[in-house]
């Protein structure tokens, strides 16, 4: 297991009280795996990334029963070692909004060269050649190294960020919404590029997005996040074919499928719970059409529902009935 988190909680402190943005999340990623994490805005995806990379504000509490990465206990690893040995070398981030993530007054190539030299004793010349090589891998002409970020298009910048993340072929590549803000054609090319990169390097990828299409095309395994928890986790194909959690069913309804042309999209009514005052029971209970009284009272634990599949719902026994009902619009909008 490359990354293992058990009961991970991230609590932001604010004057209005604590906000538990990630609430008891279990997550495991194995070597050379693309793990997709989906969920709507505000469900804690980005907070999870920030917690993993220690980018959360100083007052934030990050707690977990287990948080292991490659044999390191990330909860206890000193900041200095984490910064020097883990970041960039072992865990590299491809940030959300690559548009603004490059230093505007430094040439793109020079920024990557600097990152290389900050983490290893590499000569300037060698670092330069490494960048040229990486530019080739991500599909940028090496001549573009001497350009400034504002001379790059959005897709080019995104690819430059991926090149920077790949410098040391890290064990884990964290991509936070890599396709946000790109049009579908550029998106498609980028995803193809990510799949190609996967063939060439041994890195695992944690792909975070709210776009189910991106996940379906790229990920091996998918985690569905809701209100700070992982409500369902499964290999990609089975997850979309046979969801086990009502929220996943709702998500699936809300996205167009190429196999069912003309199917009416059904949205999930309501909005996620206020995490500064989280519900005692299941986070989805307030919006779930299949809710029982027990759902509001106790939080359902994540249980193995099939091989390699986990779902956190009290009504897993009724899943056949729920799946059939979820396909009807009246179930959601009555």
């Amino acid at each position: 297991m490359l990354l293992e988190a058990r009961n991970l909680c991230v609590t932001y402190r604010s004057v209005h009280g604590d906000v538990r943005a990630v609430d008891g999340l279990d997550l495991s990623i194995s070597e050379h795996e693309v793990f997709g994490l989906v969920g709507e805005s505000g469900c804690g995806k980005t907070t999870l990334v920030k917690a993993l990379l220690r980018l959360v504000p100083a007052q934030t509490r990050v707690e977990a029963d287990v948080l292991r990465f490659k044999g390191h206990n990330l909860l206890e690893l000193p900041q200095r070692r984490f910064r020097r040995e883990i970041l960039m070398r072992e865990i590299a981030l491809v940030p959300q909004s690559a548009q603004n993530s490059l230093n505007p007054v430094q040439r793109v190539g020079a920024q990557i060269v600097e990152a290389i030299r900050a983490h290893s004793s590499t000569s300037r010349g060698k670092a330069h050649e490494r960048v040229a090589e990486l530019f080739d891998i991500v599909g940028l002409q090496p001549e573009l190294m001497d350009r400034f970020p504002h001379e790059f298009s959005g897709g080019m910048r995104q690819r430059a960020m991926i090149a920077m993340a790949l410098v040391f072929e890290p064990a884990l590549l964290v991509m936070d919404e890599p396709t946000t803000g790109l049009d579908v054609l550029v998106q498609e090319r980028l995803l193809r590029r990510i799949r190609a990169i996967r063939e060439r390097v041994q890195s695992s990828i944690l792909l975070i997005t709210h776009d189910i299409g991106v996940i379906a095309e790229t990920a091996d395994r998918v985690g569905v996040m809701y209100a700070g928890r992982l409500v369902e986790c499964a290999p990609t194909l089975p997850l979309f074919e046979q969801p086990w959690h009502p929220y996943t069913l709702g998500l699936k309804n809300a996205f167009p499928s190429i196999l069912e042309l003309g199917r009416e999209l059904i949205s999930i009514p309501g909005s996620p719970p206020d995490l500064s005052n989280p519900p005692a029971g299941c986070g989805f209970a307030g919006r779930c059409p299949f809710v029982l009284d027990v759902c509001h009272a106790t939080r359902p634990p994540a249980v193995d529902v099939a091989t390699g599949r986990v779902s956190a719902c009290t009504r897993t026994a009724d899943i056949e009935h729920i799946r059939a009902a979820a396909a009807e619009k009246v179930t959601w909008h009555c």
Partner: protein, 311 residues
Amino acid sequence: MNPEPLDSVAAPMPTGGMRRWAAALRRELAHNWRIIRADRLGSFGMVVIVFAAFVAVFGPWLMPHDPYASLRMTDGRMAVLQQPGAEFPLGTTNLARDLLSQMIAATRTTMIIGLVSGLISIFIGANIGLIAGYYGGRVDNVLMRLTDIVYGMPFLPFIIVLIALFGRSIGFVMLAIVVIVWRTSARVIRAQTIALKQRQFVAFARARGASDLRIIYRHIGPNILPLLLLYTSFNIAWAIVTEASASFLGFGDPNALTWGGILQDLWVSGYTRRAWWWFAAPSLAIVLLVSAFVFVSRAYEVVANPRLADR
């Protein structure tokens, strides 16, 4: 273990780095030249600064006379208070000293005081601003209260006390200027740093494991460069003016000729009304050099802030 992916790369040409540096330097110079050329006042300022620097460096070879010697005219009379003319291009003083030579000698002192105290003060101000702005919290509080205290120090009483304690010398004049001048640059650069540290690329640098110092000096630093250049030349200009006023009031080094010192000699001699040339030369020189620095910085500011170009 992580494989070292860089070992597979062939060894680079040994001269590659040097050549790249030379090319980068040439590109930067050409680029800066274009910026200055594009602005007419900026070009004028640059010419004045280069001229003043030339005079400061080669002064001893340019002076027609010893600046302290009492001179005679060709007919043998003492050249007391001569108007500018063929023999004495800028005229003479009441002690029959050649003003041109005095001006040339003073250029060096003025330039040294201006540049040294201007550069030291921007160095201090920029670092205090960057560190206060980046770290925030208690560090920010301590440094900014220190800046507030310095803001409360009036320049003239401060230099009078300093001179009274330690005697009149260039060193203490420069020290007094540095102690006072850094405060504005510190405040402005702190504000800019606070704005920059919120930007995405700073957060991303942190996500790459960049240390605080690297973020401050490699990522935020280059972004405040336009502001830094602007305040460097402001500080130099301010230092020159301040030195001139200190010298004029008699707090300058008695053994060093400065433009302000020449004005003080005039004031002390009591010929202010009669010898217009005696105050014209140093006053014009001060105004010209100070505005030259402001014009050049303005030419850069137009690049950093294009809205100014419309004016």
